[in-house]
Assembly symmetry: C2
Homo-oligomer: 165 residues x 2
């Protein structure tokens, strides 16, 4: 521990400030865009779409709630509410986990699958149109690497624990 309780904070340089502004601007714009696109074309927000995608890739289109929440990076509580809504739509069904009576499996129904298949092309087109058709291949690589570094620093359990370097 050093002695200073709270040194003068290091503000952002001009380049960093600019990058940060651009980042916020671009990411909110994109998220809004995708949310609207999916709400319009598939009747659900982007996060819910992500849940269906996850389920569609899972072994028997089934996944434990906790695993699904982790993959989708949302809290279990949020997932519970979300699945309740998706269930009401008939796109997902809950099943008891045979091996663990506490557990639940979320199961993507056939109808849910159809909805997903119908929505996917438009969604990919939107992502493409906003991102990949505008970036050079080098930039795509750079973006991936930058995001990897970001996620690395935030990812695990200790995300908001004091940095114990």
């Amino acid at each position: 521990m050093s002695t200073e309780p709270a040194a003068e904070p290091r503000w952002l340089s001009d380049e960093e400030q600019y990058a940060w502004q651009s980042y916020l601007h671009a990411t909110t714009l994109l998220e809004d865009h995708l949310d609207r696109q999916l709400q319009r074309d598939a009747g659900m927000p982007h996060v819910y779409y992500g849940l269906l995608v996850q389920l569609s890739r899972a072994p028997r289109r089934r996944m434990r709630m906790t695993e699904l929440a982790q993959n989708a990076k949302i809290t279990r509580s949020r997932l519970s509410h979300a699945v309740a809504r998706l269930e009401k739509n008939g796109w997902v069904r809950r099943e008891n986990c045979p091996s663990d009576k506490r557990g639940q499996l979320a199961h993507l129904t056939d109808e849910g699958m159809r909805v997903l298949e119908k929505a996917a092309p438009g969604h990919v087109a939107a992502v493409r149109g906003a991102l990949f058709d505008r970036l050079s291949p080098e930039q795509v690589g750079q973006l991936a690497e930058i995001c990897r570094v970001m996620a690395d620093g935030l990812q695990p359990k200790g995300a908001d624990l004091p940095w114990l370097r």
Copy 2:
């Protein structure tokens, strides 16, 4: 107009898929992180913090509602609700616009300014710790450029109008 109604969609390449996954992962993690940090340290979500920042930079710490909404990239409705809440906290006050009786000015109060000043160092530290202390200067430049391109494609009015090419 070509004849095809909906050609086979161009899916994402492996590199694109990977980049997209990384992007979603990293951006949601970061947004969650900042939201929690500000909720804990300043009692408000990231978006609200952004509103205070905007106001603090405006001429007499005052800004028209519509302008503020545009700068913060949120809808006017959302801004209305947000300002109502900030007003309840005593951090912002509404004033009638002298030149246009329909208009309202949002005014950052002294107390709001204090809250902002107290929250700013922690927020900058969080942004730095998650992003700028982990990226090389080149990467910061790349990120800014990538975001500029993204925003360019989404920005203006016609963002969600049918593409009328």
